[in-house]
């Protein structure tokens, strides 16, 4: 049975990826809607970021002294000033290690 349900899950996943690309005709999107679509990364990614930084696996807020909160803040500041993808990731990770191992 598991093979069957894996196939269904695979098909469902594929359809979430494919349906809009296949069936939306960009001509029917009005200008406002097209502009709103520019915000999709800003609307989706924070929902993947915030819980991973501020909540533990059970959904409770982590302590204020948790290194990942501070490492995250450092990454935001570094990223903001340098506007660079690699620096954002690396500064956050290195701060996390320093805060974890030295404090």
């Amino acid at each position: 049975m598991i093979w069957f349900w894996i196939s269904v899950a695979g098909l469902v996943t594929f359809l979430t990826r494919y349906s809009m690309i296949a069936f939306i005709d960009p001509k029917i999107l009005n200008t406002n809607l097209k502009k709103v679509l520019n915000y999709v990364p800003s609307a989706v990614f924070p929902a993947l970021i915030f819980p991973a930084v501020f909540l533990d696996k059970k959904g409770f807020f982590v302590n204020i002294d948790n290194p990942q909160i501070w490492a995250f803040c450092i990454a935001v500041i570094v990223g903001y000033f340098f506007n660079n993808i690699i620096l954002t990731i690396v500064s956050g990770l290195i701060s996390f290690w320093i805060l974890t191992f030295y404090f």
Binding site: I2, A9, A22, K35, P41, V44, F45, F50, A52, V76
Partner: protein
């Protein structure tokens, strides 16, 4: 740029974002086999579903004996953000033939969507720009399959103290880092983030799509009411 150059550009653009893919793939391979799925099923799932959090949710719910309806609903809800990605990408991929659209849909991930969208926006006239998403998508796909295998074969070779799971939010942060400078985007980001914290405990991981839709609603208001700030 010719096809191969565009493909390479896609590969290079996505490389920094693949840092978490490898530990995450290993974690998936380890977790799925530890909770009782066969190595074969664990591997095939990476191939058929190719979506990390859905695969982990599927394995855990299946082993816990959840009903198929619950399992499939969870997978659908977790992946519903792809609908938004597809709506955005449709503007750039609608001229491609059926095979290309199927292939690029299968390869659609958060990271490939993000880097290739930036490329599409900057290269609207490039006839070969879809090769960029082939490059970014295939790179991620390949690393995901490889790291799943590593997890299955070698077990947990990622030391927990390194906190590699923390790279996942850092990667997503890096994908919107240039938007922090724009007030309208910043508002959308904060609303989405705060909503996700409030809605996190709702079933089926529905908080992702709730946060996205709510903050897109706010974006719509910003666009409609303050036309000047959104170019």
């Amino acid at each position: 740029m010719n096809k191969i150059e565009v493909f390479k550009k896609g590969f290079l653009d996505v490389i920094p974002l693949t840092i978490p893919v490898i530990p995450f793939g290993i974690i998936y391979g380890v977790t799925a086999t530890e909770i009782g799925l066969s190595p074969m099923i664990t591997f095939v799932m990476s191939f058929v579903i190719f979506a990390g959090s859905s695969q982990i949710a599927f394995s855990q719910l299946f082993i816990a004996g959840a009903s198929p309806l619950v399992i499939i609903t969870s997978v659908a809800v977790i992946n519903s953000r792809h609908l938004l990605y597809g709506a955005v990408l449709s503007q750039y991929l609608n001229k491609l033939n059926y095979y290309w659209r199927v292939l690029l849909s299968y390869l659609m991930t958060d990271q490939a969507f993000s880097v290739s969208l930036s490329y599409f926006k900057k290269n609207k006239k490039n006839y070969n720009s879809h090769f960029h998403m082939l490059g970014s998508g295939f790179t991620l796909w390949f690393l995901w399959q490889t790291s799943t295998l590593l997890g299955i074969i070698f077990g947990n070779i990622v030391p927990e103290q390194l906190g590699l799971e923390f790279i996942i939010p850092l990667t997503f942060l890096s994908l919107i880092i240039s938007e922090l400078r724009k007030l309208d985007h910043l508002i959308v980001i904060i609303i989405s983030g705060l909503t996700s914290l409030v809605a996190y405990s709702f079933p089926y991981k529905i908080y992702i799509i709730i946060s996205a839709l709510l903050s897109l609603g706010v974006a719509y208001i910003l666009v409609a009411k303050f036309k000047k700030i959104s170019k």
